[in-house]
Assembly symmetry: C2
Homo-oligomer: 332 residues x 2
């Protein structure tokens, strides 16, 4: 079997470190793994399959070595500058930043939902926003079966979504330290403000959920609104999702549709207190779905609760799964 050479950009961040871990876990045919970061973090070392890897400084000539793939998790500025350079040199970039997600020439991929889009890449494939990935997995199968008319998102997002600094704000905040990453203390608080505000009153995080859901579900006019909120939880995002359908549904059948879908674990047994929880989703790659019930305020609609590990499926695992699909396609 062919073996591949991969570059991990932003290797020292919360997502980058998880990418290295998941690459080992998934046991892909990777012969070489090189790690890159900004000058500040270069020099750190990690172990990949028992072999010590030194993190190198990311430079314009970093991709001259001939990589098959690169997973970028170093923020939009780094992606904007270096992803096109890498792609130019024949490397396929899977980018975790928001830089290229809405670019019509860049596929925005969740493998369970639209893996066929992977082939349409021009060297860059975008990984969606964490809060979008977990939601579109159940929404895609629901849309296929009942045609979605409108979605209303309210999120309960973990601090790890803001990186190590977000985690520090919660952990050190509990010891009385002032926040450094968030605008207010996150301890004993819910902050309805993720990413920056736009003039229409929405945050960019809310805009991302709306636009990326439309792009992934391939429905640019889908009616969606969102409220995104940071909560004092270390890891795994929870979401309250209200969906209205064009078509009628049977609730037992709808639950079966979700149970039989790829990438979803239905935890929905209210008589035994079974529903998705952040503490249980952490460490897994599925989107956990529960509290599925008819919304009696519309003709055809439901409410459900969706939880997933935002660092794994919301970022690192989804990126590695895209690489996995690229390898599968290459070997067909």
């Amino acid at each position: 079997m062919k073996e591949y050479k991969i570059a991990i950009v932003g290797a020292t961040g919360l997502v980058g470190r998880k990418v290295i871990e998941i690459l080992e876990e998934y046991d892909l045919p990777i012969s070489e793994c090189e790690l890159f970061a900004t000058r500040k973090s270069a020099g750190t070392d990690f172990y990949f399959r028992g072999k010590r890897c030194l993190v190198k400084e990311l430079k314009e000539d970093s991709f001259d070595e001939g990589f098959d793939f690169a997973i970028f998790s170093a923020g939009s500025t780094a992606s904007q500058k270096f992803a096109p350079i890498a792609a130019e040199k024949g490397c396929i970039v899977v980018d975790n930043s928001s830089a290229f997600r809405m670019d019509p020439s860049v596929p925005l991929v969740v493998p369970e939902v639209n893996s066929e889009e992977i082939k349409n890449n021009n060297g860059i494939i975008a990984n969606p926003n964490c809060s979008t990935i977990q939601a579109v997995i159940p929404l895609k199968v629901l849309d296929d079966h009942y045609k979605i008319k409108r979605i209303i998102y309210s999120t309960y997002q973990a601090v790890s979504g803001a990186g190590q600094e977000g985690v520090n704000d919660l952990e050190k905040g509990l010891l009385g330290e002032e926040p450094k990453k968030f605008p207010y203390p996150i301890v004993n608080n819910c902050i309805p403000h993720i990413d920056s505000f736009m003039d229409n009153g929405y945050t960019k995080e809310e805009e991302k959920m709306i636009n990326e859901t439309r792009k992934i579900l391939n429905n640019p006019d889908l009616k969606i609104t969102a409220t995104t909120v940071r909560v004092p939880v270390i890891n795994s995002h929870s979401e309250s999702i209200n969906v209205e359908f064009e078509n009628k549904f049977d609730i037992a059948e709808l639950k079966n549709v979700l149970k039989n879908a790829e990438g979803i674990i239905v935890q929905d047994d209210i008589y035994n207190n079974v529903y998705p929880l952040a503490i249980n989703a952490t460490g897994h790659d599925e989107s956990f779905v529960g509290r599925i019930r008819r919304d009696f305020s519309v003709e055809s609609g439901i409410n459900f609760w969706c939880v997933s590990d935002n660092i794994r499926k919301g970022a690192a695992s989804n990126a590695v799964q895209i690489v996995q699909k690229l390898i599968e396609n290459d070997n067909k």
Copy 2:
């Protein structure tokens, strides 16, 4: 001025203790304040206006002493048994439990919203559920101006809503203790389960928000759905509220309508990171409203974020304010 005699039932609980504190703070013409609790908690003492009050055991003859008012915060079972006894003896009961809220002969009152209902009491006035009170204050004025068509609630409820045991679960959970009140650890978790489940998939907390909102807004057919969630926050509930209107609105005018309403503090300046927060609402009696923005997924609708101190306005203060109105009416 006439002076009144009041009984506080459930005086040792989180809400009962806050009732005593707020009665002092509001400086109502109360000449005597007697405290009652179950046998287990009887014997504790509290100070009311510098005078030591011993908590007595709640008994069938407790109301023989001739009280003008009683504030009950001892749960549904105690209210069901003792509130009618107190009312029978001429005492007006303000009941914090859910026992009588949906009884058509019992007014369900938030003074800013429907204080005129107070007069229609037969000895019992119900205090709504905490998560309902803070929401109906802005919803009432919005309904008056734009006629509400549909409401979608997603809540972020503090552990104090489950009483001292709920607070203990979070505080001691941080030290590694297992939960006693909640079905799962609340530390680093969001639990989409408050009160018990019903066969239709909703919790009783969700049902209370739906039914009580309809009763208070005096619209039994109003379309409402809800997802209620416990979050790791000590005090003050936050709510993501989506509202659809029958009528058109101008967003600047709508914000002014809220700003000019009684009991609401609008905190809505995204350019300066001003929005309601649990840590800021605690200790206040208003419903804090912000993140007010047009919902572009419907013809006429908004999203907003609503935060309030669930122990004060969500329970104790609202009850004391009802007593205050009763005193005002009596003196007219």
